[in-house]
């Protein structure tokens, strides 16, 4: 195989990963099952790792390969393991019937966000050197926006957490194309930070489940100026 066909094959593979990554982001917006949400996140992380490997092969960058490897281990394996340790299985069995908006509306808004991301990143792609120009950038931005949207319309704690993680995936997806020479120690630190994030959030969600009896955090709306009048904030002091 000549060099140019090899590069073309890698480009095609990366384009495939990009397309599937965006599809996964849409699916996270739309899916109802908590478990399905988690599986989609794992798939999205695998695509992120795949894209890092492909770009690493294309530019012969060991560093990108390492980023791919770190993502391959931390997100699809360690994060679900931490979640399983901190949360009860009951949380995963949940189906979320009512999001804040219904799913077709949500998907339309998500589509608008993806198009917005494309137009937002056009000037960025115009400004960087050709070797940083890649479909990863608009799709990473779209992933970030769709993650933020997921966080906004969900009410169940674990899908909201996955929205946050999907945002970070999006940022990274753009990052592996834009800033691929970031020191490895920084990448490692960000990956381990993600693990701390999942652990702390998991502990918090478990506390919410124990004390309130539900993980529907979207329904916790007692702290507002107007409703503060109803319940005088009395501290529980023995």
């Amino acid at each position: 195989m000549t060099d140019s066909t090899f590069t073309a094959a890698l480009d095609a593979l990366n384009a495939l990963a990009c397309g599937l990554f965006l599809l996964a982001a849409f699916a996270i917006v739309a899916t109802r099952q908590t478990r399905g949400c988690l599986l989609l996140f794992i798939g999205q992380s695998l695509l992120l790792a795949a894209s890092a490997f492909v770009l690493g092969a294309k530019y012969q960058s060991l560093h990108l390969m390492a980023v791919g490897a770190v993502n391959l281990i931390s997100k699809p394996i360690v994060i679900p393991w931490i979640l399983r340790r901190t949360l009860s299985a009951e949380v995963y069995a949940r189906r979320e019937i009512d999001q804040v908006l219904n799913i077709p509306t949500s998907l339309l808004i998500a589509l608008a966000l993806a198009i917005l991301a494309y137009f937002l990143t056009l000037p960025i792609l115009g400004a960087v050197a050709p070797q940083f120009r890649s479909a990863n950038v608009p799709i990473g931005f779209a992933g970030l926006l769709l993650g933020a949207y997921t966080l906004t319309v969900r009410r169940e704690a674990v899908p909201m957490l996955i929205g946050i993680l999907a945002m970070e995936n999006g940022a990274f997806f753009a990052g592996i194309a834009l800033s691929r020479n970031l020191p490895l120690i920084v990448e490692l630190a960000i990956a381990s930070d993600g693990l701390v994030l999942v652990f702390v959030t998991g502990v918090l969600v478990r506390a919410i489940q124990q004390h309130i009896g539900s993980t529907r955090v979207g329904e916790l709306v007692s702290l507002r100026e107007e409703s503060a009048q109803l319940g005088a904030a009395v501290e529980e002091i023995p």
Binding site: P123, I124, G126, A127, V128, A129, F132, G140, F141, L144, G147, A148, L151, A157, M160, G163, I164, M167, E168, G170, A171, F172, A174, G175, L178, S179, N181, L182, P183, V186, A189, I190, D193, V196, L197, V200, T201, V203, L204, A207, I208, H211, I212, V217, L220, V221, S222, L223, E225, A228, Q229, A232, A233, V234, E235, E236, I237, P238
Partner: protein, 497 residues
């Protein structure tokens, strides 16, 4: 080496506090480690004041004037809040002594993360420590495990982490901009040197993403909604840390980018920053008027002050930047004292509801006096330090000819002044309208009646910190020691090219 010690001390203290065997010692360990950090931080700051350009360690950690100011303030509030926690936490959570060691372990880790932000020079690592401040303080916010506290902690975590993810993309784009300029290391200084050669589009995108993302954590309007919840539901010493210094130490990261943007070819960023700041000040000033919880009152005042600092940093002159640094100092000292006073009020009257507290001066003169001093100081009454710093900022704005900005800022500050003192005045001196019929109103009246029996409940450590903090608030208003003045002056250079 000092910097390494500064970072290691809280980590060791966190490890010791988490040990089950040393449970009883964890408050003492925390206070001692924080005091040692304060001494080391003061020493570092004095070295900078004496003329050392920067204290650094192997190109990874470095502290200049601006960094030294933040490090010193973190260690100051860290120490006072640790001592305050000693009595306060024992009083409020005596039934769960086992959980207290988790409180202190988290507390030390939180202080560690805040100390690291101004020391680390690599922006993406700074981002990680910003994220760690959220993660280490989340369980402190939810510590009381009430429904409201858990709700506040969840909002805090969800919004802060959302902001952090946006900021992460900003930092990655910033790195791409640096690469496009070529040849400089990814540090704050390297960024400033490379800025003229960076593609403006990338730099602008990065700044907008970082401002929006970290602005969430600072509590800038419109993403401030979590702040009054988290800053009111956490235990009072944690509120002092959150409101007093955590917001400022994240704002520091935004401030670091201003000289980079100045060096780049496009203009108008500082104007954008001023407008963004003014919106926060204005919205917070009006929200202050309608609160019903006195800890939320102080939390909204934090949003207001962050806006003022941002406005001052966005102005062009050196005098305005000095004012911004002075405002950081006065805000930190005063706001932490306010939350100590609010904590004392919580201990005295066991409610945070403003209408339920009337005539505090007759129930507990000490609490009433500190609450009044805190309210006057944070609202900006002369001659206290917030007044001085706000005055400096307004004067600098006038000297620059920014009449509209100064006019609006004065208006908003006046509204906030009125708002804070309206509530505090009623709480301290107000007479119950229904003194005769109080039995029919239920819990609030009951709470105050309960407080009358248990007046003078303030633990020793709380009284000590109230006395010390109050003295600091008063003294800083009339007398600024010359090393501190020099530190503020050096720190303000961090905002200039």
């Amino acid at each position: 080496m000092t910097l390494i010690a500064l970072l290691l001390l809280p980590l060791i203290a966190a490890g010791l506090s988490a040990l089950p065997r040393l449970r009883a010692l964890s408050p003492a360990v925390t206070a001692a480690s924080c005091a040692a950090v304060l001494i080391l931080a003061s020493e570092t700051a004095l070295r900078i004041v004496a003329g050392a350009p920067a204290v650094s360690f192997r190109g990874w950690l470095s502290v200049d004037g601006l960094g030294a100011l933040i490090v010193w303030l973190v260690s100051l509030v860290g120490t006072t809040a640790a001592v305050y926690s000693w009595g306060y936490m024992r009083k409020t959570s005596s039934h769960q002594l086992t959980r207290l060691r988790l409180y202190y372990a988290n507390y030390n880790l939180f202080v560690f993360a805040m100390l690291a932000i101004p020391m680390v020079v690599e922006p993406t690592l700074v981002w990680i420590f910003v994220e760690l401040t959220t993660l280490t303080s989340a369980l402190l916010v939810s510590f009381e495990s009430t429904r409201a506290a858990l709700e506040a902690a969840w909002k805090y975590v969800a919004l802060s982490l959302m902001g952090a993810a946006i900021a992460l993309l900003g930092f990655l784009v910033l790195f791409a901009a640096l690469q496009a300029a070529g040849g400089e290391p990814y540090t704050w200084e390297g960024l400033a040197r490379a800025a003229p050669r960076m593609p403006p589009v990338l730099l602008k995108t990065a700044f907008v993403l970082i401002l929006a993302g970290l602005g969430t954590k600072v509590g800038l309007v419109p993403l401030h909604t979590w702040l009054p919840d988290a800053h009111s539901q956490a235990p009072s010493p944690v509120c002092a840390l959150l409101s007093g210094i955590e917001t400022t130490s994240v704002l520091y990261v935004i401030l670091r980018l201003l000289p980079v943007l100045d060096a780049s070819p496009f203009s108008g960023v500082r104007d954008g920053v001023v407008i963004f700041g003014l919106i926060s000040v204005g919205v917070a000033a009006f929200l202050l008027l309608q609160v019903r919880d006195y800890k939320r009152l102080f939390a909204f005042s934090t949003v207001e002050h962050m806006g003022i600092i941002l406005v001052a940093a966005g102005l062009a002159s050196e005098a305005a930047h000095y004012g911004a640094m002075y405002q950081i100092l006065s805000h930190t000292v005063t706001k932490s004292f306010c939350f100590f006073a609010a904590g004392a009020a919580v201990l005295t009257v066991t409610t945070r509801d403003i209408p339920a507290v009337r005539g505090l001066v007759r129930i507990s003169p000490a609490t009433a006096a500190s609450l009044l001093l805190g309210g006057l100081a944070i609202a900006g009454a002369p001659p206290l330090s917030v007044f001085v710093s706000e005055f400096l900022i307004l004067k600098a704005g006038l000297a620059e000819g920014r009449y509209v900005v100064v006019g609006l800022l004065t208006l908003f500050i006046a509204i906030a002044f009125f708002g804070v003192l309206l509530h505090i005045n009623r709480m301290v001196f107000g007479r119950r309208a229904d003194d005769s019929a109080s039995s029919s109103t239920g819990s609030p009246a009951g709470a105050v009646a309960h407080a009358r029996e248990g007046a003078g409940v303030l633990p020793l450590s709380c009284r000590l910190i109230l006395l010390l903090g109050g003295a600091l608030v008063v003294v800083l208003g009339v007398y600024l020691p010359s090393p501190l003045h020099e530190l503020l002056r050096l720190a303000s250079h961090g905002l200039q090219r």
